[in-house]
Symmetry: C3
Subunit: 327 residues, 3 copies
């Protein structure tokens, strides 16, 4: 029987002492990473950045195949993983109509994944249900990379957010990172906060009262010894922030439309507002944006949100290379 | 005028005496294969398996382009052909939204195919109408591979089924192959039975009375001198079968729901039932399954249905290499 | 910050005096081309044709990535650009479900384009709104190729039409080119007429009165000094035409069904009619056709409409190589 890839026993910590410790591993959750893992991933991602800037693409994963299994559409994430694999010389099987095909005939996720791993070397999975990636990984021999499982996790987003800070600011320790907007439901904010809590960072959370951090996450951050404060007004922290991480405040979160109207403009970033910010800070956003950052600000060198997309590709290149044993 | 590929006159037997007898040919139906053709295809497919297991991919079809023209979705088949082409170093044009585009404007299948062959070197066609692949092949200069034409044929499925038996059992002659479930409407069963009838095989057909083999196929198998028996109960043949080929019994086939309820569990494979089967037999299924084989059985080494998917990729690699003159 | 590709200041004429004058440029409209530009593009396209006919594919754009961003489906155009990129050794990010993903969440075209250029080296854009490609180009650092913007332009179609004439007839000057059918709404006809007007060509426009050239285009052609005449009957010009460019007369254009019935068969090309045409003329059509050219005529060597599709691939290969600085 063809057994192209060994998959080590699963619930070990992410990085162990073997020579290629990430080979064959799944990427399911930010909770699987220690600080040393982040350092390894970012070091490889930085090399990827340098090689892309110098030569565009190279053949590290030539002959390898990625199955992009998307149960719900996500142009940005699918395009980013596709580019990451192609810039490493590998190939992609795009599967984005999964609802209309065998799955519609009732096939289970484990069966779909075990079929695709017959063809591919690694599977990127986007699924609307929390826990889907972990379930897939339980059955798969080949590595599964979680590209978002509903209200669950989207670990590569969190990694690219942190990598953006590392690359733009030269490191994370000592920084003041301000997270703005919908902190209650924002999956990206929660994952990033967990990664920041492993570092010597001062976090500032700015949101309307209705959209404050969930209690469980606040407790978790406290237990981890993280330094953070919560605010309602952006101007209280604008001038002391090294990083402004902006997210969208969605109207649908408010029962009372008046309550939404009262706060909606409080967290909009524009050139006028940014006169009060540091000259060497950066503004990040997971995108897509819908009015949270004025387009006029895009030309400002502090606008890092499109560069963030590029860092995302470098991080995904690094992860693909690592789980395929080539980095 | 660019004429990249000669296409030999069409209705010759599949394998002829030329140096590369499969070059430029269409793959439309299992009826075009003689025993010697199967031997050639399986010999190439076996080489593909060995090369994939050793190095993953190689550049045999580098620079060649496959157009995957799917008029109805089939994740599994599309992914398998994509992987087959990519593992040979070739590229793929994925076309799966064909209903919404020029075809929706009324373009005929011959025109679509003659357009795509301007771009690609080989076309894989999935279409809901019987005869579509043959019609496409009448007009095309480049090879057409039938990936399913409605209730018609799906020849690469039949080839991969037979190749699975060859690889897993070391050959076909002398085996007892038991086909189970919906034998009346099951396209894969009919095609496999035709290929088995070319060999010294004892076939056992197990189904409820309502879903027995069609009369025409029974007559055809008799005329071919095939050895076969029909049964209603699986336990009559379980212990003497080398291969159990399981298919789904669909509720919709029964007018009387009570009749469905009465038989539906008769052909479910689970670990308990398989205690009565041979230790060296294999269980196959074209997938997707919906309850015909219990998931608990997946870990049994006799469960060959996921390996079957891999054999499918090897067979498709072989066919692509053959019709493109590279094997 | 990664800045892989310089993008020269925008509103220069298409070809300038630099060493690789097309490097980094957008392809938005036929109006950006001078005769010398057409000569350059066609010379590269002719080389592409020769190389494809000799070796099929080659690695000129190895490592480069094309994002195929289609806001509306167009199988033909998407497949043609995909094949063009793959035959040059490059890779493709296919994005055709854009309506269902981040765009559905309200993302603007400039943001989508600025995200994709983080992953890709060149973007091909198909969009239902006029001006979309120009808007995208205003924001993008990487080259944008307009693959159709609603009732606006589809410049690569016009280039492939003219290139077909050049390759099939050995040149353009001195020819009589007859354009037939819906000359009022036919976007391809308008663009081709503009390119022909740069040459010493006699144009004949044949249409029902209701579907004559728009006044503005007639004025534009006159101002450019183009030689042309308008006709209602095809037989007035059939015998003197070197090129017959056929387009579809759509029933929906007529308020009065009787008016449609009266003219609909006047412009149908079949073998009988073509007895009155020159032996060395060619028949072109942008495809898809729906009855404007009888299938019986396809075998006639004068039927150039499928070859036209191949010329399209060569032109797109040339454009990709030029804007990526590799030709």
């Amino acid at each position: 029987m063809p057994r192209v890839l060994r998959k080590p026993s699963r619930h070990l910590p992410f990085g162990d002492r073997r020579e290629t410790p990430y080979y064959g591993r799944d990427i399911l959750s930010v909770s699987q990473f220690r600080r040393a893992d982040l350092a390894t991933i970012f070091s490889v991602a930085h090399e990827m950045r340098e090689m892309v800037e110098r030569v565009g693409s190279f053949d590290l994963l030539k002959g390898k195949i990625l199955a992009n299994l998307f149960y719900e559409p996500s142009t940005r994430t699918m395009a980013s993983f596709t580019a990451a694999m192609e810039r490493l010389g590998g190939s992609v099987i795009p599967i984005s109509e999964v609802h209309y095909s065998s799955v519609a005939k009732g096939e289970s996720l484990p069966d779909t994944v075990r079929t695709l791993e017959c063809y591919a070397d690694v599977i990127v999975l986007r699924h609307p249900q929390i826990g889907a990636a972990a379930e897939a990984a339980r059955y798969a021999r080949k590595p599964i990379i979680n590209a978002g499982d509903g209200v669950g996790e989207h670990p590569t987003q969190a990694l690219l957010d942190l990598f953006t800070i590392v690359e733009e600011m030269g490191g994370v320790d000592g920084l003041t990172v301000t997270l703005i907007g919908d902190l209650r439901y924002g999956r990206t904010v929660h994952s990033l906060a967990r990664l920041l809590a492993m570092h010597d960072v001062s976090m500032r959370f700015v949101s309307p009262p209705l959209l404050r951090l969930p209690d469980a996450l606040r407790d978790e951050l406290r237990a981890a010894g993280a330094k953070f404060q919560e605010h309602e007004k952006l101007d209280e922290v604008l001038g002391l922030s090294d990083v402004l991480y902006v997210t969208r405040v969605q109207k649908e979160r408010f029962e009372d439309p008046a309550a939404y109207e009262a706060v909606k403009d409080s967290y909009v970033i524009d050139s006028e507002l940014m006169r009060g910010a540091r000259n060497d800070c950066i503004v990040m956003h997971p995108l897509p944006r819908v009015g949270e950052i004025a387009m006029e600000f895009d030309a400002d060198p502090r606008a890092a949100y499109f560069r963030q997309m590029e860092y995302g590709m470098f991080v995904r290149m690094a992860l693909l290379a690592l789980v395929l044993g080539k980095a």
